[in-house]
Amino acid sequence: MAPARVNARADARLIRLLTLAGILVLWEALGQSRLVFGEALPPASAVAVAIAREIISLSFYRHLAMTLGEVAGGFVFGALPGVACGLALGARRVLGAAADPYIAALATTPKIVFLPIVMLAVGIGPGSKVALGAISAFFPVVIATVAGMRAIPAVFVRVGRAFNLRPGQMVRMVYLPALALPIVTGLRLGLGVAIIGVLLGELKLASAGLGFLARDYYDQYNFAALYAIVAIVFALAAFANTAMSRLVRRAESRY
C-alpha cells in the first residue's frame, strides 16, 4: 500500500479516536456538572456502571431472552411470507405492477401504528410484539425479492426451459443463484426493522423484554439504567446488522 494511503487511514483512526474521547469527556463533564439537563443526563461513567450492573444481573437475561425470542419469531413470520409474496408478485408482471403502489405506501408507513390493531387481534402479550416484528420484516423482504425477480434476465429462464429442467432444478440452477443476493439483502433490512418493531412494541405496552425494562427504568426515574438499556440494544442491533452483512458478502462472493 502507498504511504499516502496508510497515512490517510492512520489519520482517520486518530480523528475517530479523538472524537470519541471528546464526546465521552464532554458527556461526563455535562453529566457531572448537571448544568444543562440536570438529572436527565447521567454522566458517562454512571451509565458504564449501569451497563455492567445489567450484564451481571440474572433478570436482565430473562428480558433479553424474551426480546430475542420475539425478534426471531417476528423475523421468521415476516420473512417467509415476504419471500413467498415476492416470488409470486415478481413472476406475474401485471400482479406486481398492480400491487406496487400499495406495497410502497405500506412499507413507508410507521409500522408501530399497526400495534393497536395487533393488540386487539392477539392481545397485549408477546404475540403482539411477534406480529409487529413480522409486519415490519415483511416489507423490505417482499420489495427486495420482487426487485430480484425482475432483474433475472429472461434469457436465463429460457435457457433453463430449453434444457427441459424440472421445477426443482429451475429453482436450484436458475432462480436461487439469481435471487440469493437480493433476498439476503432484504433479510438484513428485515431483521433490522423487526428489531425496531419488537422493541417499540415492548416500549409501548409489555410486561417483559428489553423495551419493557427501559420503560420500567424510565418510570422509576432511573435514567442511568435507561441509558444503559438503550446502549445495549444499539450494540445488539449493530451486532445483528454486522452478522447479516457478512451473510450478504458471502452471497455476493458465492453467486
Binding site: A97, Y102, T108, T109, L226, N241
Partner: protein, 249 residues
C-alpha cells in the same frame, strides 16, 4: 393506453374486492366488531374525525413538526456535508460512522430524548431531526464527492471564489444525490415523528391513533391508521414527483 392503466385498475379492483369481503365478514359477525372495523364504518369514521376537525389539526401538527425537523436538519446537514467534503480527512474518518448511524435503529433512542425534553413537540421534532440529519449529511457529502473533477477544475480555471464554486458548480452538479438525501430524510423524519407521537401519546396523527384505541373507538382507530398510510404514501409520491421534475428523464 390500455396497458399503461391496466395494473392500476387491477389494483383498485383487488382493493375493492378485499374491502367488500372484509365488509361481509364483519357484517356476518365472523369477526368481532371491536377487533375489525367494517370498511364502511372506517370511511364514516374518517369523515367524523375530519368533521370534528381533530384529524386536520393533527395532520397540521404532524406536518409542521416534520417541516421544522427537516428545516433544522437541512440547516445543519448541508453545511456539515459540505464541510466533510472540503475536509476529506474528516470525511473519511466519519464516513463509516455516518453509514452505521444511517442503518442504526435511531428511533429507539426516543426514551432518552423523552427524558431530556419531556412530552413536547421538541421531543417529537428532535426524533425527526436526528434521522433527517443523518440522511442529509451522508448524501450531501457523497453527492459533492461524486461531482466530476473536470467540472471542479473548470471552476478553478475561472478563478471562482469558494462561494461561487459552491453555488455554480458543486450544488447544481450534486443536486440529484443531495435531493435523494433530502427525500429520504423527509420520509424518515415524518415516519419517525408519527411513530413517536403514537408511542408517547402526544402531538398529531400518531396521537389520534393512540387516543382512538384508548377510547375503544375501533372504526376511528382504523380510520386514523388508514389516514396515516395515505399521508405516508402521499408524501412518498410527492417527493418522487419533485425528484423526477428536478432531473427530467
Amino acid at each position: 393506453m390500455r396497458s399503461r392503466f391496466a395494473p392500476a385498475l387491477w389494483g383498485l379492483a383487488a382493493l375493492a374486492a378485499l374491502a367488500a369481503a372484509l365488509e361481509a365478514v364483519v357484517r356476518l359477525g365472523l369477526v368481532p366488531k371491536l377487533v375489525v372495523a367494517a370498511p364502511s364504518d372506517t370511511a364514516l369514521a374518517i369523515w367524523r374525525l375530519a368533521a370534528e376537525e381533530d384529524l386536520f389539526r393533527a395532520l397540521g401538527a404532524t406536518l409542521l413538526t416534520a417541516l421544522g425537523a427537516v428545516a433544522a436538519a437541512v440547516a445543519v446537514g448541508l453545511p456539515a456535508g459540505y464541510w466533510l467534503y472540503k475536509h476529506p480527512r474528516f470525511g473519511l474518518a466519519y464516513r463509516n460512522w455516518l453509514g452505521a448511524l444511517f442503518a442504526a435503529p435511531l428511533v429507539l433512542v426516543y426514551p432518552v430524548v423523552l427524558v431530556l425534553f419531556g412530552r413536547t413537540y421538541v421531543s417529537t421534532g428532535f426524533m425527526g431531526f436526528v434521522v433527517g440529519l443523518v440522511a442529509i449529511v451522508l448524501y450531501t457529502r457523497e453527492g459533492l464527492a461524486a461531482v466530476s473533477p473536470t467540472l471542479v477544475r473548470v471552476g478553478r480555471a475561472f478563478n471562482l471564489t469558494p462561494r461561487q464554486e459552491f453555488w455554480k458548480i458543486l450544488l447544481p452538479a450534486g443536486t440529484p444525490m443531495i435531493f435523494t438525501g433530502l427525500r429520504l430524510g423527509t420520509i424518515y423524519a415524518l415516519v419517525n415523528i408519527i411513530g413517536v407521537e403514537y408511542l408517547i401519546n402526544f402531538g398529531g396523527l400518531g396521537f389520534v391513533v393512540s387516543e382512538t384505541y384508548d377510547k375503544f373507538d375501533t372504526p376511528g382507530m382504523y380510520g386514523a391508521i388508514l389516514f396515516v398510510i395515505l399521508v405516508s404514501g402521499g408524501m412518498l409520491w410527492l417527493l418522487k414527483r419533485i425528484q423526477l421534475w428536478l432531473r427530467p428523464a
